[in-house]
Symmetry: C2
Subunit: 460 residues, 2 copies
């Protein structure tokens, strides 16, 4: 018993010593980021000098060049591109919409944006009676009324979910599947209420997908104030089924696939260079704004991890690989390619972490990994609580690293900042640098770096 106790005491003492040492290293990372941080200035460059960077647009290739330079400046041992084929969707100019009540020929303008991957209406636009549909159940019940009409999905972002990503999961099906489900019953286009808690009228775009079994019809998003107005007009004219008409115009089209790249920078491991820890965000962004939170923040978080570890003189045991993924928004080809190459090269991946929930104040990380690994990770939580990460949740990751988990079984993690403001700006004109807070951004980078440091030091 005496020996057992001594051994236990020894273990506790070692663990207390390590945590003390780790807490000192993490506070050096904190000083580096909060006093001499580069994340905010990097984000300013990416948003203001590069700007919007939809996959295959000129902005995206400019962002590839920016990413390489930023990784070099951050002190990467090695910077390179990983080629992948990417979709090439173009908006083709300003999207338009108007509604007309009865014999009104002038119409009233609605603020709209074509959904990503959607086909356009043709240059002359498209006019048809509109039918208000609040749910897919209602669509099924009223399927006989849909033919020749524009379906207006007015499903509301549910305010009862405390985590706004749950409201998003709940509502995003209308954006993703709405067009094909309506086309099945003869609809000629769809207009989808934006997925947001915002108090403004900005429309929010985002990817939609066609089901090849049905006609491909145009799909646009409308701002929520305009959605409320349109719903009210339709309701107050519902005695006359064809009283309200919609005019939609979009020049969107899908061109042939083209070449894009994941941008990668590494700190080579000193002891186990073949063991790879990935940390990344996605480089592409939607076109209405600057992709500041989505996902400029994730890119500069990841670059800052590498820069700060290098700056404090930390030499990683394992290879820390920063990946700025291509094409998360409308295809996910960058993430798929990364997993495919990892498999082809028989790479050994210890952990992949993604930051793609914005540059807001830190709250938690989510982990998709075995119970044993999660238990190990959870012993580190006390090191994070001074820096505002107070929970390590089960489940989490990111769209770009999910293929790695699927293909190689790699443990994955997602950074989970406060979610309240994310969908105010997401995929809209409001996703600009000015809506990112410097301290919140820096604190995100700090916690991600702490986690990467601990995984590098202790393995997983």
């Amino acid at each position: 018993m005496k020996h057992f106790l001594s051994f236990a005491f020894l273990l506790t003492a070692i663990s207390a010593f390590s945590q003390k040492e780790d807490s000192i290293t993490i506070s050096r990372i904190a000083d580096e980021m909060l006093i001499r941080g580069r994340a905010y200035e990097n984000l300013r460059e990416l948003t203001k000098k590069v700007g919007a960077r939809l996959t295959a647009s000129p902005g995206f290739y400019k962002a590839e060049a920016w990413g390489q330079k930023a990784l070099q400046d951050a002190g990467a041992d090695k910077v390179y591109l990983q080629e992948c084929m990417v979709p090439h969707w173009v908006r083709g100019g300003k999207d338009e919409a108007k509604y007309f009540v009865g014999s009104d020929a002038k119409g009233k303008t609605l603020d709209v944006l074509a959904l990503g991957n959607s086909l356009g209406t043709g240059a002359n636009g498209l006019t048809a009676p509109v039918i208000l549909i609040n749910s897919f159940e209602e669509l099924e019940q009223r399927k006989d009324e849909v033919k020749g009409k524009i379906v207006f999905y007015n499903y509301k972002f549910n305010p009862r979910f405390i985590h706004t990503f749950q409201s998003y999961s709940d509502a995003v099906r209308f954006r993703g599947q709405g067009a094909s489900r309506a086309a099945r019953y003869g609809a000629v286009a769809v207009l989808v209420r934006s997925m947001t808690h915002a108090t403004d009228n900005n429309p929010h775009t985002g990817a939609m997908n066609y089901n090849d079994s049905f006609p491909k019809i145009p799909a646009l998003a409308v701002g929520i104030q305009d959605a409320d107005k349109l719903a009210e007009v339709i309701q107050s004219n519902k005695s006359n089924n064809a009283a309200v008409k919609l005019f939609l115009k979009s020049n969107a089209k899908m061109l042939s696939d083209t070449v894009g790249h994941n941008v990668i920078g590494e700190l080579t491991g000193s002891e186990f260079p073949n063991q790879i820890i990935t940390v990344g965000g996605h480089l592409d962004s939607w076109d209405p704004a600057e992709g500041a939170h989505d996902d400029g923040a994730g890119c500069v978080h990841s670059i800052e991890v590498l820069r700060a570890l290098k700056s404090i003189g930390y030499r990683p045991k394992r290879t820390i690989r920063v990946v700025l993924f291509a094409n998360e928004e409308n295809g996910g080809r960058g993430g798929s390619k990364y997993a495919e190459e990892a498999k082809n090269k028989n790479e050994q991946h210890i952990l992949a972490l993604e930051s793609d929930e914005g540059g807001f104040t830190p709250r938690s990380f989510g982990f998709t990994m075995s119970k044993e690994k999660l238990e190990k990770v959870r012993t580190w939580l006390p090191l994070f609580s001074p820096y505002l990460v107070w929970q390590f949740n089960e489940g989490g990751g990111g769209a770009d690293i999910a293929p790695l988990a699927r293909v190689l079984g790699t443990p994955i993690a997602g950074f989970q900042p406060d979610s309240q403001r994310y969908f105010d700006i997401h995929h809209s004109r409001a996703d600009v640098f000015e809506n990112v807070n410097k301290r919140e951004l820096e604190l995100g980078a700090l916690n991600i770096a702490a986690l990467i440091y601990l995984v590098d030091k202790y393995g997983l």
Copy 2:
């Protein structure tokens, strides 16, 4: 042993049952606030229709009327005013500052605001050489150089503190004591670097105090970009001790004390009407903006607690008293009066809670009370974690309820939202409605209401 176990089991079962019931009540409060909430529209009214409401200004009296109406509309059983004498400081127009290098007669403008309670310079302003002082230690070392000069305190908001209120406590001494400490050595005025992490140049005002032993000299705050510029100019001219001059102008003055009021609304307790639970914020605000976060948020949080409890049909056992305190910013007379009256009337106060850290996303509450009471409160924490309050901290309260703790020993609590953005806007032009997020505001009210409900139901 068998009986003991059964009893323990029974206790656990009761507790599990209560927590289930409480969780249902709290989710009804959540629905009321997130779906049909009034906090955001109340705040819009207070900020846009009333606006700035410095103690004893016309805006403050307008706010008193607004507060009474808002409490009536929220369903208070009783609304009344509690009179108190308040200080009457006036800014008296636009504050001005310029610096002059060498023989430059035109000067360069600095963005400044006189500190609250400061005396002005007189109508012609005041010009004197400036001395750059980075700390009180430096002031003591260089006290012989101060006479006849304007002391420019350039102490920086420390980015290493994770909780920004710590940076504030650290820096605010220069605002509070800086004038008198410099006047002691013959300074003619002081200019104080604003207490902020902001990336803009807005000056941040706030209360200062004179030590009656020394001459009363004018004190102004300067925006941090201008502070950096001025410090640089002084540094680069330091070979010539009198090369840089400052011109300051402020018409500020302190008038005689006048009458103000705490605005109070109550839900009368059904079982223990004499047991009082106070929840409040302060109604006064600084004059450069609208006092949206400081402390419009705390006012509408508190009113929303009363409204939502009433709306869901909850009948409190104890008296829930919403107090919109007068004069927190430059005197604290409302809080003092409230405690004094409580003592005179021999009132029984169970808990006082204040919300005065802004309308940001919830993180924690802080409690100043006995260990036993804190332990009891902590058993409720699981009920809060779905709503983003993840910690109950030891220590906390608010400036308006501190006198109650001092005078009557009342247990007090403070709502602690995320602190990263607070000092970006605090006491500056940026403290406007547009910088408050609807969801974040509502989630604050929700957690405060949950705590008030539990204290009402179970006592403390």
